[in-house]
């Protein structure tokens, strides 16, 4: 019974995806091509990266509204350090950065912002919604301050490779995202840490009484979300060859949508990384398909909203007894 049900859950979004693909293939002969496949894969890679982090956060009964801003700030930091280096006037020092160094710095900054989120949430019991809402504003302001409102462009061939290069027949962003997904699937299914995330989301007090260090797990989860936002930010910066101060605006909604369409429960404890990947695919295929069909931009929004509703309602009709 349970098994059939959980299989159905998995098939759920796959079916929605298939239906969508079939419709698009009928409507446009350009849709079902390898090239368009890579295209969509590359386009969703950033959302998948972020949404993997978001999935972990939501599984642990949290939410992270700040992913877009963290993405922008980390990307800007990496780009700025790469292009201009870091001047420390106090000790009269200038530090140059290699591509690798700049990326590392961006990721560290993303992790630090996420850590701050986690710290606020665990130490001061600030509700996740509020803590990350504040971070949304703060990190955006910080990005503006760091960039002065100007994009940082001209980042060089090596850096551009991350976002635009190909490796063994697959685009680099897809490689990076694939690695992130594989690691996340292993973590959620096969490690203590992953199990603890589910346990906390399922029943925090039972998890605490089983000796799980709730705060530590939560802090890690938010830190990972920050790191993955940074990875997304670096891919985006590299693809555009430019760190945009307004990058990532309202990405949090896209990301939460991917997670929820993928069947993860917003009340925690239930869901999967692969579901999220499917959710992001549905959104990505839809976005790309609507453009491919040259649907008017006005109608695109209406259609997107309706498809999200239909996807979730289909899901609900199959599981009437869950909250």
């Amino acid at each position: 019974m349970t098994d059939i049900k959980s299989t159905l859950v998995k098939f759920q979004s796959i079916i929605a995806l298939l239906v969508l693909c079939i419709v698009l293939t009928i409507l446009s002969d350009r849709f079902f091509t390898l090239e368009n496949g890579w295209n969509i894969a590359r386009q969703i890679s950033i959302n998948v990266c972020i949404s993997v982090g978001m999935t972990l956060v939501i599984l642990a009964k949290g939410i992270d509204l700040s992913v877009g801003s963290m993405l922008a700030f980390s990307g800007a930091v990496a780009a700025g350090l790469l292009k201009f280096g870091l001047e420390i006037p106090a000790i009269n020092t200038f530090v140059g950065f290699t591509v690798f160094g700049a990326i590392l710095a961006g990721v560290v900054v993303g992790g630090a912002l996420g850590l701050f989120n986690g710290w606020m949430i665990t130490r001061f019991k600030v509700p996740p919604f509020v803590a990350t809402l504040a971070m949304l504003t703060i990190a955006r302001g910080a990005t503006m301050l760091w960039t002065g409102g100007f994009p940082i462009t001209g980042l060089g061939e090596n850096f551009a490779f991350i976002g635009t290069g190909w490796f063994l027949g697959m685009p680099m962003p897809v490689w990076i995202t694939a690695i992130v997904v594989v690691l996340a699937v292993i973590i959620t299914n096969k490690t203590k840490f992953g199990r603890h995330i589910y346990a906390i989301g399922g029943n925090e007090s039972a998890a605490r009484l089983s000796g799980i260090n709730i705060n530590k797990v939560k802090i890690w989860v938010y830190t990972i979300a920050g790191i993955l936002a940074a990875v997304g930010g670096i891919i985006l910066t590299s693809r555009l060859d430019s760190a945009q101060p307004n990058a990532g605006m309202s990405y949090e909604l896209d990301s939460i949508a991917a997670v929820v369409i993928g069947g993860t429960s917003l009340s925690g404890g239930r869901g999967s990384i692969m579901g999220t990947v499917q959710g992001a695919l549905i959104i990505g295929v839809l976005n790309s398909g609507l453009v491919l069909l040259n649907v008017s931009p006005f109608w695109q929004q209406v259609i997107k909203g309706l498809v999200i509703l239909v996807a979730v309602i289909m899901d609900r009709l199959n599981h009437p007894h869950e909250d």
Binding site: M1, T2, D3, I186, N189, K190, T191, K192, R195, Y198, A199, G202, N203, S205, A206, A207, R208, L209, S210, G211, I212, N213, G269, R270, H321
Partner: protein, 506 residues
């Protein structure tokens, strides 16, 4: 259908399915007017489900309900209320951040012609109701600030608010003390005098026998018979009606030779968080030996749960005192420390604190000892399945497989899963807080035997219970806690109900 004299409500051929599970299968019962109709049955027999149908919670079922001979069909709880059916559910159904009065009048608020609430009148009425229950709480108090027992009193008050013709009580006494039970029984008696019918469910058979007029037995969703004259039925008859066979009821712990001392605590104190000069626990000392079962008795709110939690590292920042495990002093600053030092706690509220209900049995079992199922850095599904299978077998957990979600198990089986979780940590001492609350006789017995077997294997066990007969049956020694202190100490020889009770009300 014709009105039958003496029968207030008749349920015919009631069948109720949840997905694939048949909770009720062609059930027939009669509720006699002005009598206490007791329904008995094991956990999961379908008692609460039937009550929910009678009170309009589940409008979709097969079969017919007749109220005074008239066919009725309740589409929601309000319909049933209008027909004079009041119910007190098994689970507490209160809104934590509303006041007592707001809760009691929820869904049937008093208001004036403009729709504005009449708070004064509601408070006054609440006060009267509470006084009827010998309870002098302020009607404005938020329910979240009440103890569980007090909340149960509010539930009872809620069921008494309107002049109902049928009052359904599903486990009304699971959390209230003996003196409060007495008050309740008096109220039930007076209701009976007014011709009100009562449907009463309880697993506390001894208490049940004090008030029941007739018994209706339910087993696996089927009606298995009634005993019309309760006074003539013995406890054994009652158990046979429930379980379908005899159970050796008089359980007495095997006496074994105790081993070395496994746990000793000295001068445990726990101040209140808000006012640090007053205490929840003061100067508690005791010790437990290997193979010994120490019973911890006390009335509701005596501080027993707090004591176990303190020893388990949940209040490490404010507690003081010393804890020795196997004669070595240990510092327990967190649950992890407690586990490392061989202490396990089966908490009082298995749904809130014991289980992740949405998770498989196997994952719950391994939760506190997850390192045992890690193989070269990763969780091993096989090791995990083996671990849980071992306990499913050892504890006779009734389930189709270890992959079953915990929320699909009956209460007793859920309790066993929590037990399994702690046994898997290979503890030296096990704390059990009210391990049999809400559990039927049969499952209770199984748990008693389990405790006995664990002790035999050399565990030190501390059991908290509010039921005197239970604690006397299963303990080697009994400590009584009252008003933050230890007020009594009894061994097998000196223990008798009167003395223990006396210590508990100091």
């Amino acid at each position: 259908m014709e009105k039958k004299p003496g029968i207030f409500l008749e349920a015919q051929n009631i069948t109720k399915k949840f997905g694939g599970i048949t909770a009720l299968n062609n059930v027939n019962i009669n509720v006699h007017t002005g009598k206490v109709n007791a329904i008995v049955g094991e956990n999961g027999a379908g008692k609460s489900t039937l009550m929910k149908i009678l009170s309009g919670v589940y409008p979709d079922y097969e079969g017919d309900l007749y109220l005074n001979g008239e066919k009725v069909n309740f589409s929601n709880p309000k319909d049933a209320m209008k027909k004079g059916i009041a119910i007190m559910h098994q689970e507490l159904n209160l809104i934590p951040y509303l006041s007592i009065a707001d809760n009691i009048f929820l869904g049937r608020e008093l208001h004036n012609a403009l729709g504005v609430l009449d708070s004064k009148k509601m408070h006054k009425k609440t006060k009267e109701l509470l006084e009827r229950l010998n309870c002098n709480l302020n009607p404005k108090t938020l329910v979240s600030e009440l103890r569980v027992g007090e909340q149960q009193l509010v539930e009872i008050a809620k069921a008494l608010l309107e002049e109902a013709k049928l009052v359904i009580m599903d486990e009304p006494t699971s959390a209230i003390s003996d003196s409060e039970i007495e008050v309740l029984f008096k109220i039930i008696a007076s209701l009976k005098e007014q011709g009100v019918s009562i449907l009463y469910i309880s697993h506390k058979l001894d208490k049940l026998r004090l008030i029941a007029d007739r018994y209706i037995g339910l087993r696996d969703g089927n009606t298995v018979g009634t005993i019309e004259n309760a006074k003539e039925a013995s406890k054994e008859d009652l158990i046979r009606l429930m379980v379908g066979r005899d159970i050796k009821n008089i359980y007495k712990k095997d006496s074994v030779d105790f081993g070395d001392e496994v746990l000793r605590i000295e001068n445990i104190c726990l101040p209140k968080v808000i006012n640090k000069s007053t205490f929840l626990l003061k100067d508690i000392n005791f010790s437990v030996k290997k193979g010994e079962v120490l019973g911890l008795f006390g009335l509701m709110g005596a501080g027993r749960t707090e004591l176990l939690e303190t020893l388990f590292g949940l209040h490490s920042k404010i507690m003081s005192g010393k804890i020795y495990v196997e004669n070595k002093e240990v510092r327990i600053k967190s649950v992890r420390d407690a586990i490392k030092n061989g202490i396990g706690l089966v908490p009082e509220d298995r749904k809130e604190d014991g289980l992740v209900l949405g998770m498989e049995i196997s994952k719950n079992v391994s939760m506190a000892s997850i390192n045992n199922v890690v193989k070269s850095g990763f969780l091993s599904t096989k090791l995990e399945a083996d671990l849980s299978k071992k306990y499913i077998e050892a504890l006779k957990i009734k389930t189709p497989s270890e992959k079953q979600l915990s929320k699909n198990l009956s209460g007793g089986n859920q309790q066993k899963v929590v037990l399994a979780k702690w046994l898997a940590t290979s503890p030296k001492v096990l704390f059990l807080d009210e391990p049999t609350r809400g559990i039927d006789v049969n499952a209770k017995n199984e748990i008693y035997h389990l405790i006995n077997n664990l002790a035999k294997k050399g565990l030190g066990i501390v059991v908290v219970s509010s039921e005197l007969p239970e604690i006397m049956a299963i303990s080697d020694r009994i400590l009584v806690l009252s008003d933050t202190r230890i007020t009594g100490y009894f061994d097998q020889a000196s223990a008798n109900e009167e003395a223990i009770m006396k210590a508990a009300v100091v």
